[in-house]
């Protein structure tokens, strides 16, 4: 299931990156606007809420 979700992203993104790198390599790039991006990984706190929501939903189903 995950594979089905990711494959289209990978395919399109790989093509886009290769094209953009070629564009940059050809010198066709606006260097003034070329900002280095950073990746921010999800923290444990980011994920905790989803787990708590699921536990709450479970608790609601089995409430006496």
């Amino acid at each position: 299931m995950i594979e089905g979700l990711i494959a289209p992203i990978l395919s399109a993104a790989s093509r886009a990156i290769a094209s953009a790198v070629k564009h940059a390599n050809d010198g066709n790039i606006d260097r003034a606007n070329l900002v280095v991006k950073k990746f921010v990984a999800a923290t444990a706190a980011d994920l905790e809420k989803d787990e708590q929501d699921a536990l709450n939903a479970l608790g609601d189903r089995f409430v006496r």
Binding site: M1, I2, E3, L5, I6, I9, L10, A13, S14, R15, A16, I17, A18, A20, V21, K22, H23, A24, N25, D26, G27, I29, R31, L34, V35, V36, K37, K38, F39, V40, A41, A42, A44, D46, L47, D50, E51, D53, A54, L55, A57, L58, G59, R61, F62
Partner: protein
């Protein structure tokens, strides 16, 4: 991923302009490749978060008992924990790469030769981290 590696190889080997132009194009291209990889990591992380959330809620909706549901939710969370640990490892490598790219960019602007060895080494590490995340996510059912 093969396309990215090919594009980077073109950056390193295929240019025939002056050295300064080649170096600046190499830095530009490495930044573009980095930014594309960051976008991919973000997209895949978003999918992982969505998929995990949907799985946890599905367990909550279908569990036969509260105890069984709690156990399954804990187990599913644990399976995903390794994936998100891998995202955090990728973040550390990517931050180092981003810093190296900023230094390389500054070198170009100062008319100096950028140190591309570290940039490509870190990019290679980032690709490995990314590949590891992909493998882990493919294994999650």
């Amino acid at each position: 991923m093969l396309q990215i590696r090919i594009a980077l190889a073109v950056v390193v080997c295929g240019c025939n302009a002056s050295y300064g132009t080649v170096a600046s194009h190499a830095v530009d291209s490495a930044i573009v490749a980095n930014n594309g990889t960051v976008d991919m990591l973000r997209s895949i992380q978003e999918k992982a978060v969505e998929h995990r959330k949907a799985l946890l809620l599905r367990i909550a909706r279908t569990a036969e008992s509260k105890t069984s549901g709690e156990r399954k939710i804990g187990s599913a969370s644990a399976r995903y924990a390794a994936v998100f640990d891998a995202f955090r490892s990728a973040e550390a490598v990517q931050n180092a790469l981003a810093d190296s790219l900023v230094v390389a960019q500054a070198s170009i602007e100062a008319g100096k030769a950028p140190s591309m060895g570290r940039v490509f080494s870190l990019y290679s590490q980032l690709q490995k981290a990314y590949g590891s995340i992909m493998t882990m996510m493919m294994d999650i059912k």
